[in-house]
């Protein structure tokens, strides 16, 4: 094991021990407060180009399993832990080329990101490979997360059938979709076909419903995708999840903005305005929709009041900023997916 470090663009250095692959990984430093689901997190395409810090004190305790992969490969660039919780996890990270550091003062890092916002950063497995001074220069040359369109690099290239039989027939536009979304739709009885991010309206409009998936990066530069969503609205029932929700927002005419440090975790309370109930949700987003009319939001974050969901019955569209499919996280919002599928089911 060698001494590595995490360097933030403001020059702050956190030392740690490398337990993953060699090398240096650049990206945006973010943190998740979920206490379980490390493998799901790392393989969630929404974490593309990010260095993920786990606030959970120990990570890797219960090993790894292929079934927990949310996609076919890791997307987080590096992971930062207070303590590694098991060798199997370290091996998994190493084999997949992820830089991973333990003995990072993760709480100090979180407090720093909370105060200063998410920052560009580099995780370096060994100081011998890259000095802090060189690294700082390189970090500052990295692009900001704002303005980055990342879905193309994580979306599937071809369409494919995930669940052949079932009703209704649902299309999922894959901006970086988690497998949990596909699994949950199939579990609700839907036949599921997955399309690349660049799918055209005519490919999608014949389905009983279209799910706009989660995905990484800034939604704002996704002009073509937004245009497609705009055309879909009203034609076919649409459910947006996370990035998909942001695209619905943009398509309606709202703006999106970057949250200071995002919402990432599995304990975020969301008020469902209509029922008055609180959902404990799984979240992973760095951007959010700024609603021109706050009344339009069906769901609101009880942490910072940001928009967590929309419902436009006249456009047959609804969306949620959080992750009803969970994986990882609580299942409180499963019914949102289940109900949507149920409503689409032809009688």
């Amino acid at each position: 094991m060698t001494t590595g470090y995490l360097l933030l663009e403001d020059g702050t250095v956190f030392r740690g021990r490398s337990v993953g692959a060699d090398g240096a990984a650049f990206g945006e430093a973010v943190f998740t407060t979920a206490m379980t689901g490390y493998q799901e997190t790392v393989t969630d395409p929404s974490y593309a180009e990010q260095l993920v810090c786990f606030t959970a004190p120990m990570v890797g305790n219960y090993g790894v399993s292929d079934e927990r992969d949310e996609s076919d490969r890791p997307h987080a660039r590096a992971i930062l832990m207070r303590q590694l919780g098991g060798q199997e996890w370290a091996e998994w990270l190493k084999q997949r080329g992820l830089v991973a550091l333990e003995e990072i003062d993760t709480r100090a890092l979180v407090l720093c990101l909370r105060e200063s916002g998410a920052m560009r950063a580099v995780a370096v497995a060994s100081e011998e490979q890259l000095s802090v001074a060189e690294a700082l220069e390189a970090v500052r040359e990295q692009p900001l997360m704002e303005g980055q369109a990342l879905v193309a690099q994580v979306s599937s290239r071809e369409s494919y059938v995930f669940a052949e039989t079932g009703s209704p027939r649902v299309a999922v536009v894959d901006y970086g979709s988690k497998r949990s979304i596909l699994r949950r739709l199939a579990a609700s009885g839907a036949a599921v076909t997955v399309f690349p991010h660049s799918a055209e309206v005519d490919e999608l409009e014949d389905f009983d419903g279209v799910v706009l998936s989660n995905g990484p990066g800034d939604p704002e530069p996704l002009h073509a995708e937004t245009e497609t969503v705009r055309e879909l609205l009203g034609k076919v029932p649409v459910l947006g999840i996370c990035l998909g929700h942001q695209l619905v927002g943009l398509a309606i005419g709202h703006e999106t903005f970057k949250l200071p440090f995002g919402h990432r975790g599995a304990n975020h309370p969301v008020l469902e305005k209509q029922s008055g109930r609180v959902l404990v949700t799984s979240q992973n987003h760095g951007f959010a929709v700024r609603a021109t009319d706050a009344e339009q939001a069906t769901h609101v974050s009880l942490y910072d009041g940001t928009v967590e969901g929309f419902d436009f019955p006249e456009l047959k569209a609804r969306s949620v900023q959080f992750h009803p499919e969970a994986g990882p996280g609580p299942h409180d919002a499963w019914p949102i997916l289940d109900r949507w599928v149920e409503e689409l089911r032809p009688w």
């Binding site: 606030t55 959970a56 709480r107 100090a108 979180v110 599995a266 009880l302 942490y303 996280g329």
Partner: protein
């Protein structure tokens, strides 16, 4: 949904005396609830029989009733106060059971009182095995296959191994495992006797499965949150109260954890808890993931107190608010203030709880852990990693040297421990030996352990650490892993990290040291004192900084102090807190022996002890110096000697004269104390102190008393037939104020903690009272006491002897404070802060009522140990009762202690020869009250000779084959009162068998003749009297 305004007043039922399975966590819960209810404008009434609770302080509720927690008392309080609602979910099983009784007796309906928090049908659904099973199965979950049994005839075809669980008992009391049919029958018989409804569950054994608990909260909008997951290190089969536990759970994947979370939410909904918290226990088979729901408590519990302390989420506070109608999103998160309580805490640290056992107090008792809880307290450690937390809790236990305990060392791990925990513990061991101080500290090791590994002292390790700059950092508990800014004042230490939350205020600070884990001899009374110390210093303009490691307590509620450090009470951690806080003083006199042991190193570390200095403590504990001091003062004490060996003891004893009292120094609760009447007994007692080896619960060979004798063993002449007094006084260094003079009901020889005591002292002559006052007034300044002083005295034939002086808060302080209506701790704090007694202008207390404190003993938990009172303290808790006269107060106290005195029936007497003359009066009084008297041969002869009509019954040893013995009589419920004074104690004697039978049959059993006389006096003279609130009694309005 805002608070309900159709309710104006709420009665909170407490949990009564501290017993195994029900400790001060319910005081913590009750205090939190009363606080928020009052803030919300509700009129509050509290009923609890335990005077050492903060919740029964006059300022905590509008009306406080220190009354027995039985149907009769609580009904009369409800009748008097007419509250709109009763909240029974904060007082443990006791309060829940009472709620059911009140409902069944029709009291609630008659008085129009609503049960809030948990309606009767919900309590039944959670508590009744059959109803619970149906509720669980209705949501597609499984419970262990089982059958409900109400008689021994229903045990055919039970699949073994099986577990036996009686319905409606505390802490799984009366339950156990059965591997074969004979064991099954034994367990069921015992369980049926223990269960108040005569019902036990015989179920599929899931012994060895992993055990998890979830703390769940639900509001009336049907929002459900899981506050905390807890994983047991000791697998299923060991009661969770006896298990080492960790939070959050460490070994489950997200999918497995979410399955538990879903199940917990389904169960709380199916059972129907609408407003409040519940603890739900699961068994999970590691290999297959099979799940069984084991049980649910529809109330706050020991685990919820732990979960609250572990996460910073105040479950009891939130539950109380939910009970009056709020929803979770309307309640702010206490720590962040900006976010709501409708979230799930996320932890960036690990919390480990260790049970604290007291097997050393119960020689002969079975130490095997099972489904019946046996631990008496717990410690909690917070660290950034599992091993850091584990080792903190492990080190916090303050084990008596050589005391037998599970987890005695880290080589002593339970069978079936999950390999993840085993690996982590092994890793910590490697780090200890690695030679790098920072790494060893990060693994969680104390300086002493590191020193032992390096062959140097802990102090030397500390010096090296400081030289290398290896210092602890402090972290906040904020419930959200740093995601939301929280100004919380709740800290723990870790290593090699950044520090946060340094003190900012200009106010002077005091550090108050708590009392650590509850154990016999040091329990809630000391926490009560620490909490008052914090309150008082805050009122005096100081910042109060609390250090403690006991998750059950009010002192470790972050609301109690300005800053809370959840840390081991060891010199290393305490000094680190002091170095950081730079207090004007450290307060050591309220936490029992624990802080006193630290006093020296605190002074050596450059910090000042506020109030009584360490020198005074040393002077009082060092028998030689104390002996010459009392001699100088012209105060009499029984002749004494310090001895190092049995031979020496026998020589000295012949000078002193038998009987002698043998005791080690620097112990609390009379650890290893014995009264010896001859050389043989003395030799035996000395060997107990020095320790013969015996095999502990975990198979390790430990020595019972080794180490207890390191400061020499004290030999005192035991003053026979003496009245024993406990005096609590205040001293400002010069003047002394005598606050309370309490007389023990049992004569000297029974530990003061186990003896009932009475205030004002009933048989104190004026001359003796003056002499006592004179003695205490001279002792205080001579010892250098600034604060509280407790003196124990004996009066025999008009002569006053000092038995011991304790320059600190004593166990009796809460009782005395409530009996005389004066806050003694507050006064002591003012003295410690520099005021003089003349500044306080205290007026001599003139209590208008007689108050009795009675002890509650845990013998039923320790079959095999002789249930007899003696000089070694064994009680876990106490109750208080006040009335216009002594017999009424005493009878009420006995009721409160769960041993209601019979008013008619049959009394059995068997007394040792010395007590025979006195037994005549007792028996005559009983006969006069219409009792039939039964006695064994010797006692019967004496009583008959005095002209009493006696039925004679055979001793076990003397019985003919078919003759029924006294034990049969007791077992068959033919006796209503047993008076049995021991002729030598120990297993298998006739007396032991009688006492044990009485214990099992729940027949009141008095083991001293003075206690018997008092009991008979109470039976004869107790009157019905309506309860008075504390506020009325002491003339305070709140």
């Amino acid at each position: 949904m805002p608070a309900r305004r159709d309710i104006e007043s709420v009665c909170v039922i407490g949990s009564g005396p501290i017993v195994i399975g029900q400790a001060c966590e319910f005081d913590y819960a009750g205090c939190q609830a009363l606080k928020v209810l009052r803030e919300d404008g509700y009129r509050t009434i509290v009923v609890n029989s335990n005077p050492a609770t903060i919740m029964t302080d006059p300022g905590f509720a509008d009306r406080t009733y220190i009354e027995p927690l039985d149907l009769e008392s609580v009904a009369s309080v409800l009748e008097r106060e007419r509250p709109d609602a009763v909240l029974p979910t904060l007082g443990g099983q006791t309060a829940l059971n009472l709620a059911i009784e009140l409902a069944e007796a029709g009291v609630l309906e008659e008085l129009g009182v609503e049960l809030i928090g948990a309606p009767v049908e919900v309590i039944r659904r959670a508590e009744d095995r059959q109803e619970f099973r149906e509720a669980v199965m209705s949501c597609g979950l499984e419970v262990p296959t089982s059958r409900i049994v109400t008689s021994l005839d229903e045990l055919e075809d039970v699949s073994l191994p099986a577990v036996v669980r009686p319905a409606f008992t505390l802490g799984g009391h009366g339950g156990g495992f059965a591997d074969d049919q004979a064991a099954l029958e034994r367990q069921v018989e015992r369980g049926l006797a223990e269960s108040p409804i005569g019902q036990v569950l015989v179920e599929e054994s899931v012994r060895g499965w992993d055990e998890f608990e979830l703390e769940v909260i639900r509001d009336r909008a049907d929002n459900v949150v899981v506050v905390c997951s807890i994983e047991n290190l000791d697998p299923m089969g060991v009661h969770t109260g006896d298990s080492v536990t960790v939070a959050p759970q460490m070994t489950l994947s997200d999918e497995a954890y979410q399955e538990l979370r879903d199940a917990a939410a389904a169960v709380i909904r199916a059972v129907g808890v609408e407003t409040g918290g519940s603890n739900i226990q699961f068994a999970r088979r590691r290999e297959t993931g099979e799940l069984r729901v084991i049980e649910m408590n529809p109330r706050v519990s020991r685990s919820s107190a732990l979960a609250s302390k572990a996460t910073g989420y105040p479950i009891a506070k939130v539950a109380a608010k939910l009970a009056v109608g709020y929803t979770l999103d309307e309640i702010p998160n206490d720590l962040t203030k900006t976010t709501p309580a409708s979230f799930e805490p996320t932890l960036d640290y690990v919390v480990v709880k260790f049970p604290r056992f007291a097997f050393e107090k119960f020689p002969g008792a079975d130490q095997t852990l099972g489904t019946q809880m046996k631990s008496v307290g717990e410690t909690m450690g917070i660290g950034r990693t599992f091993t850091e937390a584990l080792l903190k809790a492990f080190r916090s236990r303050e084990l008596d040297p050589g005391a037998p305990t599970p987890w005695a060392t880290l080589d002593d791990l339970p069978e079936g421990l999950h390999p993840w925990f085993r690996d982590e513990i092994e890793r910590a061991k490697t780090e200890l030996a690695c030679g790098d101080l920072l790494r060893a500290k990060r693994a969680g090791w104390g300086d002493d352990s590191i020193g032992a590994a390096l062959g140097v002292s802990g102090v030397e390790v500390r010096r090296r650490r400081h030289e290398q700059g290896v210092l602890p950092a402090f972290r906040r508990v904020d419930s959200c892993a740093g995601e939301v800014e929280a100004g919380s004042n709740y800290f723990y230490s870790t290593w090699g990290e950044a520090d946060e939350g340094l003190p900012e205020s200009d106010k002077p600070r005091v550090v108050i040291l708590g009392s650590g884990p509850n154990r016999i001899g040091q329990g809630i009374e000391f926490d009560y004192c620490c909490v008052h110390a914090a309150q008082t210093f805050r009122e005096l303009g100081y910042e109060a900084v609390m250090v403690n490691c006991n998750p059950e307590t009010v002192s470790t509620d972050y609301d109690t102090s300005d800053r809370l450090y959840f840390e081991p009470l060891l010199s290393e951690e305490v000094l680190a807190v002091c170095d950081r806080e730079q207090p004007v003083g450290v307060v050591t006199q309220f936490g029992g022996q624990t802080p006193l042991r630290l006093a020296r190193s605190i002074e050596e570390g450059g910090h000042r002890i506020l109030g009584t200095p360490h020198a005074a403590i040393d002077l009082a504990e060092d028998r030689a110096r104390f002996g010459s001091l009392v001699e100088e003062l012209g105060v009499r004490c029984p002749p004494w000697a310090i001895v190092a060996s049995a031979e020496q003891a026998i020589v000295e004893a012949s000078d002193i004269g038998y009987p002698v009292l043998v005791r080690p120094s620097y112990v609390l609760g009379g650890r290893a104390m014995r009264i010896c009447y001859d050389d043989d007994e003395l030799e035996e007692a000395m060997s107990a102190v020095h320790g013969p080896e015996f095999v502990g619960a975990t198979g390790t060979r430990v020595s019972a008393g080794s180490g207890l004798a390191q400061n020499g063993v004290l030999l005192d002449r035991f003053v026979e037939h003496a009245i024993e007094l406990d005096v609590d006084a205040l001293c400002d260094g010069d003047a002394v104020f005598i606050a309370a003079v309490m007389q023990h009901v049992e004569e000297a020889g029974v530990h003061s903690g186990d003896s009932a005591c009475v205030l004002p002292a009933p048989s104190l002559t004026l001359a003796a009272a003056l002499e006592v006052e004179h003695v205490v007034k001279r002792l205080g300044p001579a010892l250098g006491v600034v604060g509280l002083l407790n003196v124990q005295l004996a009066i025999a034939d008009g002569t006053v002897y000092v038995l011991e002086a304790n320059p600190r808060a004593s166990r009796t302080v809460p009782f005395a404070s409530k009996a005389i209506g004066m806050n003694l701790v507050a006064a002591a704090c003012r003295l410690a802060a520099g005021e003089k007694l003349s500044d306080l202008a205290l007026s001599t207390p003139r209590p208008t009522q007689v108050s009795v404190k009675a002890a509650v003993l845990p013998f039923a938990r320790f079959p095999g140990a002789d249930p007899v009172l003696g000089p070694e303290m064994r009680s876990t808790g106490e109750v208080m009762a006040s009335a216009a006269d002594l017999p009424t107060a005493l009878a009420k106290a006995e009721r409160a202690a769960g041993r209601p005195l019979p008013t008619s029936g049959t009394a059995f007497l068997s007394v040792r020869d010395e007590d025979k003359p006195a037994a005549v009066a007792v028996a005559a009084a009983l006969a006069g009250l219409g009792f039939e008297i039964v006695a064994t041969e010797g006692t019967a002869r004496t009583l008959r000779a005095a002209g009493l009509e006696i039925e004679e019954v055979a001793k076990v040893a003397d019985a003919l084959p078919d003759e029924s013995t006294v034990v049969d009589l007791v077992r068959r419920g033919r006796c209503d009162l047993v008076i049995n004074t021991p002729q030598g104690s120990g297993a298998r004697t006739d007396g032991y068998l009688i006492r044990e039978a009485a214990l099992v049959a729940r027949v009141p059993c008095v083991t001293t003749i003075s206690g018997a006389a008092a009991a008979v006096h109470a039976i004869a003279n107790a009157r019905a009297e309506s309860a008075l609130s504390l506020q009325e009694r002491i003339g305070v309005t709140t």
